[in-house]
C-alpha cells in the first residue's frame, strides 16, 4: 500500500492543529505592539534629549553679560511651572501662600477673573502657561487648565483678564508705560510666569552673595542652552540649595529655572519653556474685547509709587542676602484691613469696585492664623509661643502676639529672630 501512495492534495502539515504554538505566536502580536510603543515612548524623548549640545565654553561673567545684554523682547511659547513646597495640595494652600507672600490679598470677594486670585494658584502643583510678549507693554499669559483657561492680557495701559471657568472678565487701567524695566512675564510681580522673570529676580538678589558658575550645557525646548548654577554663599540659615538656570545660547534668554532646596530632593520650583519661539506674536494676540454677555469687573487703578502693602503692615527686613527674614505685624494688618483698606497685590493691587460689602477683615490675619493653626506646629522660645509652618522652601512663624516671621530660611533661624526681637 505504501508503495503506491501518491502525493496527497494537501500536505499533511496543515492537517496538524497548530495548537499552542500558533496561539503563542498570535498573543505575541499585542505584546509586540505594546513593547514597541513602550520603547518608542521611552526612547524617543531620550533620543531627542540625547547629547547635551556642544557649545563654546563661556565663563559665568560672560553668560551674565549675555543675559543682561539680551535684546529679545518678543516671545511666544509654552511654559511649564511646577511648584513643590511639600504642602498638601489644598485650595487653602494657595490662599495661605498668597496670604504669606502678599499680605491681605486673599480677599474672597474678588472677581474670579482678577489676577491675584488666579496667579497664586501657580504656587502649588504643576501648571501649563502660554506666554506671549511683544516688548514690555504688550504681554499675554494664559494659564492652561483642563477645559478652561485664564488669560491675562496687557496692552499698554490696558489690562484685561478673562477666566473661561467662570466666564467673567476683569479690566484695569495701568499707569502710563512705566520707565522701570519690565521683563517678560513681569506682569505678575511676585509670581514669575517665565523662566526669564524668575532668573532676573534671583540674579538681582544673588549679586555678591552667591557663587555663580557655568555647569555644562542642556537642551531646552529644542534649543541649546548653557547651564548657570547659582549657589548661596555666606548664608547659613537659608533653605535654598542651588538654582540652575538654562540660558539660551543664541539669545541669552533664560529658558529654564530650577530651584532645589538645601534639604535635597525634588526641585521646589521649576519653570521652563517646553516650546518657545522668539518671533513677534500676531498683533491680535494682545487685543481683547469683552465678549457679549460676559460680566466685566472693573479694577481700580493702582499707583505704582504707593506702598503695595497696607499701612502698618509694611514688612521690616531682618538679615541680608539669602538669610533675609520678613517681619510683619499682623495685628496692624488686621486693623488696616478692618478699615477697609484692601491688601495690595504688588504690581496690580486692584480691587473690584463692585466688590460685595463683605469685609476683608475676616480674610486678613484671621485667615492667616486659622490656616497656620491648621498646618502649623506649636513652637516656643524665649519670645513666648507661636505657630510655625514648615515647607520645603519657605518657613513661617506667627507668634501669639501677632508678629509674623517669614523667610526662605530654617525654622530655627525664625525662632532666633523672634528671640532677638524680644
Amino acid at each position: 500500500m505504501a508503495l503506491i501512495q501518491p502525493a496527497r492534495p494537501e500536505p499533511e502539515q496543515p492537517d496538524e492543529p497548530g495548537g499552542r504554538g500558533r496561539k503563542l505566536a498570535r498573543y505575541g502580536v499585542p505584546v509586540a505592539v505594546a513593547g514597541v510603543a513602550a520603547a518608542t515612548i521611552g526612547l524617543v524623548p531620550a533620543l531627542a534629549d540625547a547629547g547635551d549640545p556642544s557649545l563654546p565654553s563661556v565663563t559665568a561673567e560672560q553668560l551674565l553679560t549675555k543675559i543682561a545684554a539680551s535684546q529679545t523682547r518678543t516671545v511666544d511659547g509654552t511654559v511649564k511651572v511646577t511648584t513643590d513646597l511639600g504642602l498638601p495640595d489644598l485650595s487653602g494652600g494657595s490662599a495661605l501662600l498668597g496670604g504669606l507672600g502678599t499680605p491681605g490679598s486673599g480677599g474672597s470677594g474678588d472677581s474670579p477673573a482678577a489676577p491675584q486670585s488666579q496667579l497664586t494658584q501657580l504656587l502649588t502643583g504643576s501648571h501649563q502657561l502660554h506666554v506671549a510678549a511683544d516688548g514690555p507693554d504688550r504681554q499675554k499669559i494664559s494659564i492652561i487648565e483642563p477645559a478652561a483657561e485664564y488669560s491675562l492680557i496687557r496692552n499698554g495701559t490696558q489690562l484685561w483678564a478673562y477666566d473661561s471657568g467662570s466666564d467673567q472678565a476683569y479690566h484695569a487701567t495701568l499707569p502710563a508705560p512705566s520707565q522701570q524695566h519690565e521683563g517678560l512675564g513681569g506682569a505678575a510681580d511676585g509670581v514669575p510666569t517665565t523662566p526669564q522673570a524668575a532668573a532676573e529676580q534671583v540674579l538681582k538678589a544673588a549679586d555678591g552673595t552667591s557663587r555663580i558658575t557655568v555647569d555644562g550645557t542642556a537642551r531646552v525646548a529644542g534649543r541649546s542652552a548653557y547651564e548657570l548654577v547659582v549657589t548661596p554663599e555666606h548664608a547659613t540659615d537659608t533653605t535654598v540649595g542651588a538654582i540652575r538656570i538654562a540660558v539660551d545660547s543664541a539669545t541669552g534668554v533664560p529658558l529654564k529655572f530650577t530651584l532645589t532646596p538645601k534639604g535635597g530632593g525634588k526641585a521646589v520650583f521649576d519653570i521652563g519653556f517646553t516650546r518657545v519661539d522668539f518671533g513677534t506674536p500676531a498683533a491680535g494676540t494682545f487685543t481683547f474685547t469683552p465678549p457679549k454677555g460676559v460680566k466685566v469687573t472693573e479694577g481700580s487703578t493702582p499707583s505704582r509709587a504707593a506702598s503695595p502693602a497696607p499701612q502698618g503692615a509694611a514688612p521690616t527686613v531682618l538679615g541680608k542676602g539669602w538669610d533675609t527674614i520678613a517681619v510683619i505685624d499682623t495685628s496692624a494688618l488686621n486693623k488696616g484691613a478692618g478699615k477697609g483698606a484692601d491688601g495690595g497685590f504688588a504690581g496690580f493691587g486692584a480691587q473690584g469696585k463692585d466688590k460685595p460689602a463683605r469685609g476683608s477683615g475676616d480674610s486678613g490675619s484671621g485667615d492667616v492664623s486659622a490656616l497656620l493653626n491648621g498646618f502649623g506646629s506649636k513652637v516656643s522660645g524665649s519670645f513666648g509661643t507661636g505657630t510655625a509652618v514648615h515647607t520645603r522652601l519657605v518657613n513661617a512663624l506667627l507668634t501669639d502676639k501677632g508678629t509674623l516671621y517669614v523667610g526662605a530660611v530654617t525654622q530655627s533661624a525664625l525662632v532666633q529672630a523672634a528671640d532677638a526681637a524680644k
Partner: protein, 282 residues
Amino acid sequence: MRVWWSLGLLRSELVTVFRRWRTLALFGVLAGVPLLVGIAVRIETRNGGTVGGGPRGDNGPAFLEQVSNNGLFLTFASLAATLPFFLPMAIGVVAGDSVAGEAGGGTLRYLLVAPAGRTRLLVVKYASVLAFCVVATLVVALSGLIVGFALFPVGEVTTLSGTTIPLSAGMLRALLIALLVAGSLVGIAALGLFVSTVTDSGIAAMATTVGLLITVQIVDTIPQLHVVQPYLFPHYWLSFADILRDPVQWTGIAKNLGLQALYAAVFGSAAWARFTTRDVTA
C-alpha cells in the same frame, strides 16, 4: 466582490446593533443629559445668577458657565459632562456585549460556521462598536445643539482664550469636537472588545469593561499614581477642549489620539489573538 460581501456582514451587524431596544435606550439616556443640563442652567440663571456656586466654578463641569450666554456651549458642556462616564459606559456595554453576547446567546457558533471567519467577524464587530461611538457622540452633540438653541441665545462664540469667533466657525469646531470625543472612545471600545472575547457572558463582559473604566478613572485622579496616568486611556480625554482655545493647542489632542490608537492596536490585536485561537464551546 469579497469587499461588498464583507460590507453585507457589516450592514447586518449595524442593523443588529442599532435595532436593539437596548441601544435605543442608551441613546435616549445620552440625549437626555443635555436636556437636563440645559433646563438646570436655564432655571439657575433665570434671575441673572451664575451656575456652579463657587466663584471659580472649579467643581462644575466644563463650559457650564458659558451656556447661558451662548447655547452652542451646551453642546460642549454636554460632551464634557458625558465623556467621563456616560459615553464610555455606553461603549462598554455595546463593546462588552459584542462577542460575549453572541457567545452567550449561542449565535456566535452559527456565525462562525456560516462561516463568517473569525478575523472578519472581529473586524466587523469593532467597526460596528466604532460606529456606535460616533453615533452616540453625535446624539449627545445634536441633543445639546437643539436644546441649547431652543433655550439660550446663540451668537458669536467666545473661545477659552477670550477671543471671539463667528458662529459658523464655532459650529465647525463643535463638529470637530464631536469627532474628537468619538475618537476618544476608540481605546475603551478596543478594551471592551478584548474583554468580550475572553468570556461567554455578555453581562460579565459589560460589567468588567465598565468596572475597568471606573477603576482607571479613579486611578487617573490619585496624585500618587501620576507616573502611570499618562498611559491611562481617559487621561487626555478633556483635550478636546483645546479646540476651543485660540490658537488651537494640538499637543494634547495628538497625545489623546495617539494613546487611543495605541490602545486600539494593543487590545485589538489581543482580542484577535484570543478570538482566533479560542475554542467556541458556547
